[in-house]
Symmetry: D3
Subunit: 115 residues, 6 copies
Amino acid sequence: MPNNVEEFDAYRKRMNDKILATDNKVIKRIFNLDTNAYKEGHLPVKTKELLGLVASTVLRCDDCIKYHLETCFKEGVSKDEVMETLSIATLVGGTIVIPHLRRAYEFWEELETKN
Amino acid sequence: MPNNVEEFDAYRKRMNDKILATDNKVIKRIFNLDTNAYKEGHLPVKTKELLGLVASTVLRCDDCIKYHLETCFKEGVSKDEVMETLSIATLVGGTIVIPHLRRAYEFWEELETKN
Amino acid sequence: MPNNVEEFDAYRKRMNDKILATDNKVIKRIFNLDTNAYKEGHLPVKTKELLGLVASTVLRCDDCIKYHLETCFKEGVSKDEVMETLSIATLVGGTIVIPHLRRAYEFWEELETKN
Amino acid sequence: MPNNVEEFDAYRKRMNDKILATDNKVIKRIFNLDTNAYKEGHLPVKTKELLGLVASTVLRCDDCIKYHLETCFKEGVSKDEVMETLSIATLVGGTIVIPHLRRAYEFWEELETKN
Amino acid sequence: MPNNVEEFDAYRKRMNDKILATDNKVIKRIFNLDTNAYKEGHLPVKTKELLGLVASTVLRCDDCIKYHLETCFKEGVSKDEVMETLSIATLVGGTIVIPHLRRAYEFWEELETKN
Amino acid sequence: MPNNVEEFDAYRKRMNDKILATDNKVIKRIFNLDTNAYKEGHLPVKTKELLGLVASTVLRCDDCIKYHLETCFKEGVSKDEVMETLSIATLVGGTIVIPHLRRAYEFWEELETKN
């Protein structure tokens, strides 16, 4: 099995660099906001990452889910906390979320294996 | 201005009672799960309510937003924490979330006025 | 309480007439298709109306739900069959469907009261 | 009939002012971007407004549709051009867009009546 | 060409087993409901599967579409009935459904070839 | 790297032919409308293609994005115009659009390389 975590990170970085190089101001500012919004504020980083994870999951964006799972992992979120977050996403978003839940679980396993 | 909080709660309760009285098992279990999922678990109630709020907001469900705002208010979530949660929802979900942000803000004001 | 069924039908007809009068060919053909697609084919009309109802419900379009509820009512679909269809929609689409379920139930009651 | 255009504008302005007063940086920057993105660039303002209109319509956001219809009207977009844009939105987004098409048409009529 | 039907089923089963093993009660109950909701009730199994298929298609969930196509196939639904269901989904959900229609058609062919 | 443009076009054509051969009238008419809607009308072809691109992007349909990028390329739309259109899509649709932006950018590069 290929190491999906590294492939995912590399593709993400390579394309982000290319997109930012086009110098479109609106896109640059959105990318910039995307970094700032998850920094410590009135809510701690960990809670914000769980908010990003649940939003990505109900909107069924696999790459967004992977990104937030990776950050959650770095922030020390436990597997139980991730599953509880994903359970709320599946309840709110319905059974169409389940295929994304499978891929999210698989990616979390790869994060655990890799580290 | 009518007291929207009370109207909202009353309509919600009246219709839920009627729907549950039809005795459809799948719907009854979903309603039941909806109560259980937000109880204290690996994550505290307050975090779970913020997860419910952000999920409702990116999916642009005004009634769901109101419900979670009301519960957040009861749980002692601060206005700054609510705004930070809604800011992540607006970033992830885009500017189409803004009309819902306006109505969410208005409902939060009514919760503050009423209490 | 105003008779929402009649108001809904009147507004729908008035605006459809105006939109069709603009003579936009793409829109006219979509409106035309919308009538033809639910006619008896390999599947009976009743099944097709339930398909239209479940699609409208998971996509959370209140006016589309009302339209299909009205046609279901005319086709003799029972309340139990409607509730079963809506239960599948709520399971597939998640708890964000519930506010639409409330309004759907209310509209069905008005259809029963009116007839 | 109440003048919906003025009511819509007033509510929008009143709530935006309140939201911006909370001083949430992420939200402020998104509001700021929302103004800048539609300014003349490689594409003319009129084309950008039509892009905003079609995006709002397929995402079925009535308030966003109204906002872009109002700006289109100010920019001198013709009714035929608006209908053509909305026809593409209805084709891409499907018949669930039709209820929003009705409300869009009604709002455009009010813009014409008012001016 | 790999036998996608078998691969799909195997991945689905393997990940479902892992997810259920985490013992998250909310997820377990949703999985359980997902089995029960499509059982014979006021509506026959075949109709319920078509409801699941149309809901999955308008929500553009390829894996959900495949799952319901497979069950439809087992229940003896004809290709004409499947196409009629998918045509309603494409009309209601718009041309963005078409890429999913292509993959659905391809999967149905594989189901026919395999059996 | 495989030439994704040609693979994409070939798969699209092969499956469209098969789907049209099933002789489902509703689907045939939608396919037909899909061709007609983007022809020169009150708006020029280029503007209509940008409308199709932004609609596809906010609805996060990768295949639809590719199709419109290909037509934009043939119509002589510049990379700056494409990026500006995609920037509006990312603002309106939110950061969940970003993974689609990456794949769109990659496909545009392949169109440039191939031609």
